[in-house]
Symmetry: C2
Subunit: 390 residues, 2 copies
């Protein structure tokens, strides 16, 4: 089976390396094309800067898209599907928006569109979720979906270093980008959460402008120390619930009791969980990013195409209402401004340097937090354990 | 697709219940036969005490064996395969011995033999392992494979209660059998570890008399308290490594640092892990037993048969040498007898009420422990973190 790789960054190189491994060669896989940018130098015979060469080559069975970004990834994926190529991608940004369009195009052209690597890197999360859905309704999903933010919070906890210092270290180690916003402000998690919710509930969120997001940019050493004293660990998570044809979703810092799997997910690892009717709580832990784990997930999808293993069929056209008030919980809020008027409809108590806002709907907390941030750019909030679905 | 269930205990009833669920009925599944014992009263129309009725009914596509025990489970599984029925079982005892025989019989008869539920209950462990093996050599597997022993150790840690008291509570809750030996002496884990190692290394352990096993019967409150003071949690685990065509395996109490997933696996949950070349460490956490989770795993296998999803093909005929000295580590040993002669070849130091045996091969430690037990029936040992493969 011939594979064309679009983009030759870390993950693209990983795919190339795994396909070259001895036990993969017995599978009769080989990389025939590597698409590079127009002005790059071709250092390998497989390299080309001409996408149409790949599209028109009848021997290419699978196109692996690992360029990242929205365009031209979206255009190339669609073109490949429409040229009768199976497509596999690790690109969460493009999948979060175009999952339904890609799925329909694949169906129309009798090819496969797989994207295991787009969420949780090497963790078999998409397939685990799809498998659970063959039998169960999945009532909630949640997870530490982003390794960079987890590395930062873990280092802050273990070494007591301030956010900015740890971020710099993460950038030096190659864990964080020069512009770290996607990782620390929660947009990367938002993409992965939307893809997961699309599958879990068979919906098409597509444009997730409503999704409440709050990142970890404002967290301080003192915050982390205080949480630790209370026997709690802070993690940046994505979480979604469904009930009675309504769903919610949120990206926010959350506190977990010290003796939970979440609290003990170290370094840049991911932990992703689902809760199903008969299966109960199921958790998947592993490398959520990195060259070989992510490439492994891509090659798994390639093998599924080769072995004609169909993934769960989803139409993404169930109607469900996004309900920002579906889940209620307690939040710790740290701010210098007086918020008594803003939170007057909720019970608020004082705890050290923090306010505790009791039993506030998640969507409302995020809405009010936006107003707090207008007055106090350094304000921080974090959810306490034991949120409840209404 | 018509299903015959052999045995109608907890798991059999769970399978019946899940198949009756609305979204399963659209899958066109139904239970046509339930095999009960000769002198039991037939309370449902599907019940029969005649195995040959099931074998000769051409409409039966899948036989689900959930009787437990070796015979007649072994005989019935073989008969069903030889009559052209797909067979799915949750019976680890029979799979641990006859995996190769069943696999060959299934192949010969062009049917499937699946056994996801036999290890880790509802956790998709077998399939997760098989999936990893499509790409990677798996270098080690390990896990908290038994919920009952984990419940006991967890309760001892959290409540400070003695072993015997917690065992009684577990029996009252239905977590432990009247004869708890399989759970607390490690035989249940041994079966699950052997099945996992058979798959991981493509070998046929079959008769695992060589496997070093040490259970938790002798653990005391004081042991647990001491470990906690040292920042360690004790778990009864199964573990196996491979290197250079050699493998080892062991069932033993092991200490884990407080901030590990293992240490934080609560109640009767299971946590099973693999380490692969490109995928790294991958962990699966969930309900390792119980009616619905185990039945869920069985119905997943039924759906794989229905959707013609083949599992990894293994012949179980690779030659690998069992090497009891492959892994070395430190052990804590508590005994009243003088063991200085017995352990004279190893560095031994004193630590509170314990001896620390340094860098001893796992197989040797278990061998010497057997001799210690002859003199001191209450002796206890536990491995310290950071074992190393030679």
């Amino acid at each position: 089976m011939k594979i064309a790789i679009l983009g030759f960054g870390t993950v693209g190189k990983g795919v190339y390396e795994i396909v070259k491994k001895a036990n993969m060669q017995t599978q009769n896989l080989s990389v025939s094309h590597i698409l590079i940018r127009k002005n790059k130098i071709r250092t390998m015979p497989e390299m080309t800067d001409d996408m149409s060469e790949i599209l028109t080559d009848k021997d290419v069975d699978v196109v692996v898209e690992v360029m990242g970004g929205i365009e031209p990834a979206h255009e190339y994926i669609l073109a490949a599907l429409n040229h009768g190529k199976n497509v596999i991608t690790a690109n969460k940004a493009v999948v979060a928006i175009y999952l339904k369009e890609f799925t329909e195009a694949a169906e129309r052209n009798h090819v496969k569109f797989y994207f295991e690597a787009s969420v949780g890197g090497g963790i078999p999360w998409i397939q685990g979720l799809e498998k659970a859905l063959r039998i169960d309704n999945v009532n909630s999903i949640s997870g530490i979906f982003n390794g960079t933010s987890n590395f930062i919070l873990d280092q802050m906890s273990k070494k007591g270093q301030p956010f900015v210092e740890v971020l710099k270290e993460a950038q030096k180690l190659g864990y964080a980008e020069a512009d770290p916003s996607a990782d620390i402000d929660g947009y990367d998690i938002a993409n992965k959460l939307c893809i997961s919710a699309d599958i879990a509930y068979d919906i098409d969120i597509k444009n997730h402008q409503k999704l409440p997001i709050f990142g970890i940019r404002n967290i301080t050493c003192e915050d982390v120390k205080y949480f630790q004293k209370r026997g709690l660990a802070v993690k940046l998570i994505g979480r979604s619930h469904q009930k009675d044809n309504k769903f919610d979703y949120v990206v926010e810092p959350a506190l977990f009791l010290d003796q939970t799997l979440e609290a003990n997910t170290p370094d840049n690892y991911n932990l992703i969980s689902l809760n199903g009717e008969t299966i109960g709580k199921l958790d998947f832990f592993g490398q959520g990013a990195g060259m070989l784990p992510t490439a492994n997930a891509i090659v798994q999808d390639i093998l599924d195409v080769k072995e004609r293993k169909s993934h769960l069929k989803r139409d993404f056209d169930k109607r469900m209402e996004y309900c920002p008030d579906l889940t209620k919980g307690d939040y710790l809020l740290r701010t210098k401004v007086n918020v008594s008027e803003l939170f007057k409809n909720y019970q608020v108590s004082k705890e050290g340097s923090y306010l505790v806002v009791h039993q506030i709907p998640v969507g409302m907390m995020h809405k009010l937090m936006k107003l707090v941030l207008q007055e106090d750019k350094a304000a921080f909030m974090v959810s306490l354990p034991d949120q409840e679905v209404a």
